[in-house]
């Protein structure tokens, strides 16, 4: 009898512990979001989005150049990551059983786990050192490398979700494999693939480490891809470790913009997935 009671007690303790761990994880989430919003919102104004940084001591200034920089760097990254990612995803799902597909899948997963700072060092070695110049191109390259495995794996998984009958139907009508993929399977999986791209974008938009010594930083607005380019993340880092209170405020505002971007992207992605689920139910 006693033993039964002990077992039951242990069981409730365990259930309580699991509930507690959820709360424990949500506390920092709440704290981070609370501080980012409460500290950041006061420094966000029109000038924050339209002006470039002012020198120390002068009040005001904004992150217009960094926001534009982040948009350009992420677009640059997706420009070459999306085709490579999507097509390798197609390969992995179409030729799933082959050795190459397994090797690619394995590489994608390991590449996904390579620390972003290492990707930065790599991009520095191939795109900065040879030209003796920090450049937006190098930054875009680093971000693109980080996107490829995410996009490839999502594409693969979503293509496998498309009902096999659709593929068989296309093949039975005499379509080649390429035609079946591009006219039947891809359109069906498209909302999901877009979700994957958006999620990958959200992740790399928040990356700092790979940009520190590739696109570096730039206090001025620039559209030149061969010049150093500012980004929100690197700018926040510069401001955060500076000793100036005014710069700290700007850092919080930058963090708020970053978190908003990430949050919007996740919501967008969820919306797209729901749409995809609706399509499959039909």
């Amino acid at each position: 009898m006693n033993r039964t009671r002990r077992r039951k007690l242990l069981s409730s303790l365990f259930v309580g512990f699991c509930g507690m761990s959820v709360l424990l994880a949500l506390v920092p989430l709440g704290f981070v979001l609370f501080f980012v919003v409460s500290q950041g919102v006061g420094s966000i104004n029109f000038g924050f989005f339209t002006q470039t940084p002012k020198p120390v001591g002068e009040v005001g200034g904004g992150m217009a150049n960094s926001i534009a920089g982040t948009l350009m760097l992420t677009s640059l990254g997706s420009l070459f990551a999306v085709p490579i990612g999507v097509v390798s995803g197609i390969y992995m799902s179409e030729f799933a059983g082959t050795t190459l597909a397994s090797a690619v899948r394995f590489s994608a997963d390991t590449l996904n786990g390579v620390p972003s700072i290492v990707i930065g060092v790599f991009a520095y070695g191939i795109a900065v050192l040879p030209f003796r110049q920090f450049s937006a191109l190098a930054g875009g390259l680093a971000l693109g490398i980080m996107m490829i495995p995410i996009i490839a794996r999502t594409t693969e998984e979503l293509l496998l979700l498309v009902p096999g009958t659709m593929r068989e139907g296309a093949l039975a009508l005499g379509a080649t494999r390429a035609r079946a993929v591009f006219t039947v399977l891809l359109p069906a999986a498209l909302p999901g693939i877009i979700t994957g791209v958006v999620l990958a974008l959200a992740r790399i938009a928040g990356e700092t480490a790979p940009l520190l010594f590739t696109s570096f930083n730039n206090p001025y607005f620039t559209t030149s891809l061969r010049q150093p380019m500012s980004s929100i993340t690197v700018q926040v880092f510069t401001y955060a470790i500076s000793p100036y209170a005014d710069w700290h405020r700007q850092a919080w505002a930058g963090a708020l913009v970053l978190v908003s971007i990430v949050f919007l992207c996740s919501l967008l992605a969820r919306f797209a997935t729901r749409k995809l689920a609706g399509l499959q139910a039909r």
Binding site: F31, I148, P149
Partner: protein, 313 residues
């Protein structure tokens, strides 16, 4: 006709897929090539000596590898029980209407950029840790783990922030792994009169390879995490056992000193640290993936009910 076109399709898409493998190889090759100066000059001593003095050209990376391993292991000790608890709560215990919101919230925890955690760390966590350290009882302060002045920045702050960042990764993989445990497992345990804890323990035991894989995946994340750690660990290249001491990690030293490294040997030494970080994370990730995959594969095979019941009893 169609077959030849199919071959073309296969080759064309395969070429793109090959790029992924090539990138991984290229990273290894490039980092090795760029760190040859340092590898030739210091050899294995690079990893055994503690002096990091760019001015006199002496480079020993022991403090960084120590800091990386110490902070990651501490983070893992904090994060693992919590992450497993979350995974169990979401997949086994919580009411259905709570499941989706909780999944979303834990994913949000993973989506917050590292730099934002770092900013929060500097201005919120570090002052908090400083107060915590200052109020540590004197008895503890004399032990090596808690010696030194309460600075706030240091190993403890780094471990806490790493743990927060690792939790969502471990818990989401562990959740998936738990979901792949057949329902018959739990039903069998309950039918034998097991309590909730015992049934879940049996499920966790059944899924052990995958669970270990998920913990290792979190370890890999912690090893490579850069910005947040750089901002709170104190950046002091010393090997110290104290949780209060400012220390340094491999990724942090690269982030801080890379653009300042004017001298080729200095740059090579930093890239060599990057190379070793790459190799370590590659091994950890490969192992964890293998574990998770083998788990997924065995779950699709027949269900060894008899073995499960034994462990439940």
């Amino acid at each position: 006709m169609a077959r030849r076109e199919d071959l073309g399709f296969r080759l064309a898409t395969g070429a793109f897929a090959l790029v992924l493998i090539l990138i991984v190889c290229a990273i290894g090759f490039e980092l090795t090539r760029q760190s040859m100066l340092s590898i030739r000059k210091f050899g294995l001593n690079f990893w055994r000596t503690e002096t990091w003095d760019p001015v006199s050209g002496e480079f020993g990376a022991l403090p960084f590898i120590w800091g990386t391993l110490y902070s990651s292991i501490l983070a893992l000790l904090i994060a693992t029980p919590i992450a497993i608890g979350i995974a169990v709560f979401i997949s086994e215990l919580c009411p259905a209407f709570l499941r989706q919101p909780l999944v979303f919230l834990t994913e949000l925890l993973a989506a917050i950029p590292s730099i934002v955690y770092g900013l929060w760390g500097i201005f919120v966590l570090v002052p908090f840790v400083r107060r915590l350290e200052a109020s540590t009882p004197d008895v503890l302060r004399h032990t090596p783990m808690f010696s030194g002045p309460p600075l706030g920045v240091g190993m403890l702050a780094a471990a806490i922030i790493l743990a927060i960042m690792v939790i969502p990764f471990t818990s989401s993989v562990a959740r998936e792994v738990l979901r792949s445990v057949p329902a018959a497992q739990r039903e069998g345990a309950y039918a034998l009169g097991a309590t909730r804890f015992e049934a879940i323990r049996a499920a966790l035991f059944y899924a052990r390879t995958g669970v270990i894989g998920s913990i290792m995946l979190g370890f890999g994340r912690a090893l490579g995490e850069t910005m947040a750690v750089t901002m709170v660990i104190g950046n002091n290249p010393r090997v110290a056992a104290s949780l209060f001491a400012p220390q340094y990690t491999m990724s942090a030293v690269i982030a801080n000193e890379f653009t300042e490294a004017a001298d080729p040997l200095y740059l090579n030494a930093l890239i060599e640290i990057g190379l070793v970080l790459f190799i370590i994370t590659l091994i950890v990730n490969a192992l964890s993936r293998l574990l998770i995959w083998s788990m997924a594969r065995s779950a699709t095979r027949t269900v060894p009910v008899a073995a499960a019941v034994e462990t439940a009893a």
